[in-house]
């Protein structure tokens, strides 16, 4: 056990950073994820299939391509990057925030898919019933739709977290591999495999990766079951 926890400061940094990046990516993509899932599940508008394609793009493009596109758009000289830097002081390139952005974008299709499926499974007649009882559309969403799609939201969040923990290609392309700033677990493992005698470090981080992933999975199962119990659907 000791050899596992006997990490160098850089390795600890990689673990902490990975978790922070994955959590931030998951939380920030949740509201737009629900919104886009709603639009795709219920919206009737021109260009819906275009939106659907855009959302799924990170899933089918090579991650390096996505990373490079992010670099072009959100890099220091990119249009969005320059704008955010100038007006909000938010810098993505070569920062951990950039890693979170890359992870969020890569995981977005998985999150939207999970939530969209659960929205499509909601019995809309229940929403109509809530309407006749005096609830306006916003209340209906908050008190009926949202609780009913909670299992889908949890599934989407866990998928997004797991994807973010493992994201490598887009991250390393966009924000490089700077220890303490942008070096996440996968990048750290990759670095170890590139130097002689790095096997022990790579193995340690690999085991830690597996533990984090398994913990997330079990946590989602427990949560989903608890929510499911309150939902014993007729």
């Amino acid at each position: 056990m000791n050899w596992l926890l006997d990490l160098t400061p850089d390795e600890w940094n990689a673990v902490r950073l990975s978790i922070r990046v994955a959590v931030v990516a998951m939380l920030f993509s949740l509201p737009p994820g629900i919104l886009i899932a709603l639009l795709l599940a219920r919206g009737k508008f021109w260009g819906k299939s275009v939106l659907n394609g855009l959302v799924h793009l990170p899933l089918i493009l090579p991650p390096v391509v996505t990373g490079y596109l992010l670099l072009l758009t959100f890099g220091k000289r990119g249009p969005a990057g320059a704008f955010l830097d100038q007006y909000f002081g938010v810098v993505f390139s070569f920062r951990w925030t950039g890693a979170a952005l890359a992870c969020g974008v890569m995981a977005f299709p998985l999150m939207v898919r999970a939530i969209r499926l659960s929205i499509e499974a909601v019995d809309r007649r229940l929403e109509a019933a809530a309407g006749t009882l005096g609830a306006n559309p916003l209340w209906v969403f908050g008190t009926i739709t949202l609780p009913l799609i909670l299992p889908g939201i949890i599934a989407g969040m866990i998928l997004s977290f797991a994807k973010a923990m493992g994201e490598f290609g887009a991250t390393i392309t966009f924000v490089s591999n700077i220890p303490g700033e942008t070096q996440t677990l996968p990048s750290a493992i990759y670095t170890f495999t590139q130097v002689p005698g790095g096997d022990a470090g790579a193995l340690r981080l690999t085991v830690i990766s597996i533990i984090i992933a398994m913990t997330a999975l079990v946590a989602s199962e427990v949560l989903a079951r608890r929510v499911g119990r309150t939902l014993e659907v007729e």
């Binding site: 019995d123 007649r125 229940l126 109509a128 019933a129 809530a130 309407g131 006749t132 009882l133 005096g134 609830a135 306006n136 559309p137 209340w139 209906v140 008190t143 009926i144 609780p147 009913l148 309150t230 939902l231 014993e232 659907v233 007729e234």
Partner: protein
């Protein structure tokens, strides 16, 4: 309370074009499936928009396409009891009941939760989840939920259709209490003559998206041509009768109305209370002179005010019994044999009646009385 509806709406190949007005305590929208009943209540409840038309409830315009007015469903304050209950699965029964109340402004709330829970007998269910309730319990909770939102009108879309006969019998008394004890008007969708005869004060008959007739139940149920062929025998007179007395020795009760006296067995009601009596057309025999030596106790004198030979095999005879109209359905052969024509004085022999206690706070009895010895006369025209 008055409800005025004048709407047109196309739904695929089907088109609804309905105009009616009602002020009844419980108005039944009656018709076969596919006649547009559910679409019509959805239009009233705001779940469906009319292509054109106007709906006014109690002087309040809910929809008027001419002036582009449309009140969305959450602002209509119209309760809706769905055929499939639609309780929220993630809430307990108690939370379901409170749901609509939360959205009702405090100044417009009426009734109290305990009273409604009591009225519907659902006190023992409050902490349960809807998924664990029986069909009848779900429907009672759904009625309570709609009621506690303090609606100005309640719509019920075949609330009993998905239940078996025992559950129906379990819920009917609650709907009657709702009709008699609260002041909220009810619009009730049904395709069952028995339900309509028992519950409705008024009815609107729909046929293929159009209103075939509208008016008091007691009048419309006499018009057997309005009823679907297979239920025509269920139609007949509905009389409100007063309990005049009872004979303990035989367990018989005497009911009176302008039409005369009727004796029935198995009724448990206080003298002076009102009973709603349904006399099915197929249970009435016509005699041209007062019958003797007959076991049937209920013989009302009357005068024929119309004979209609509807589908050729049967004739419907309308009999005026001192101002109240009773219908008899007999074979066309019998009608010709007895030379039944308008203006003829005859006697209506009533083989059996169905009765419900109306306007009473007590439990309701529903029973069919068949005097002994008359069952063999079923086929006698």
């Amino acid at each position: 309370m008055s409800l005025r509806v004048d709407v047109r709406r196309r739904l695929g190949a089907f088109s609804l074009d309905a105009t009616f007005e009602t002020g009844g305590r419980l108005t039944a929208l009656f018709g076969p499936s596919g006649s547009g009943k559910t679409s019509l209540v959805n239009l009233i409840g705001g779940l469906l928009r009319p292509d054109e038309g106007r709906i006014v409830a109690d002087g309040r315009v809910l929809v008027d396409t001419a002036s582009r007015k449309y009140v969305p469903k959450h602002k209509r304050r119209i309760g809706y009891v769905f055929q499939d209950a639609r309780l929220f699965p993630h809430m307990t029964v108690g939370q379901n009941l409170h749901y609509g109340r939360f959205f009702t402004p405090a100044s417009e709330r009426y009734g109290d939760i305990d009273g409604v829970v009591d009225l519907l007998g659902i006190g023992h269910l409050l902490d349960r989840k809807p998924g664990l309730l029986s069909g009848g319990e779900k429907q009672r909770v759904a009625i309570g939920r709609a009621l506690l939102a303090s609606p100005r009108l309640i719509l019920m879309d075949e609330p009993l259709a998905s239940l078996d006969d025992r559950r129906k019998a379990e819920i009917m008394p609650y709907i009657e209490r709702l009709r008699d004890e609260t002041k909220i008007p009810i619009v009730y969708v049904s395709h069952s003559v028995a339900e309509v005869a028992r519950l409705a004060t008024d009815m609107v008959v729909l046929d293929q998206g159009k209103v075939a007739a509208a008016g008091p139940t007691s009048e419309l149920l006499q018009r057997l041509d309005l009823l679907p062929a297979e239920e025509r025998g269920e139609g007949g007179a509905v009389l409100e009768m007063r309990v005049a007395g009872c004979n303990q020795a035989f367990g018989m009760s005497t009911l009176v109305s302008p039409a005369g006296e009727i004796h029935i067995v198995g009724l448990d009601a206080e003298p002076g209370s009102t009973v709603r009596v349904r006399i099915r057309a197929r249970d009435v025999i016509v005699a041209t002179e007062r019958p003797h030596g007959l076991s049937a106790l209920n013989i009302l004198p009357g005068r024929i005010i119309g004979v209609s030979a509807g589908n050729g095999l049967f004739a419907d005879v309308l009999i005026d019994c001192n101002g109240e109209v009773i219908t008899a359905r007999i074979t066309r052969q019998s009608a010709e044999m007895l030379c039944l024509t308008r203006g003829l004085d005859i006697f209506a022999v009533i083989k059996s009646v169905t009765f419900d206690q109306a306007n009473t706070t007590r439990g309701t009895t529903d029973g069919t009385m068949r005097p002994e010895g008359t069952t063999g006369m079923e086929k006698v025209g």
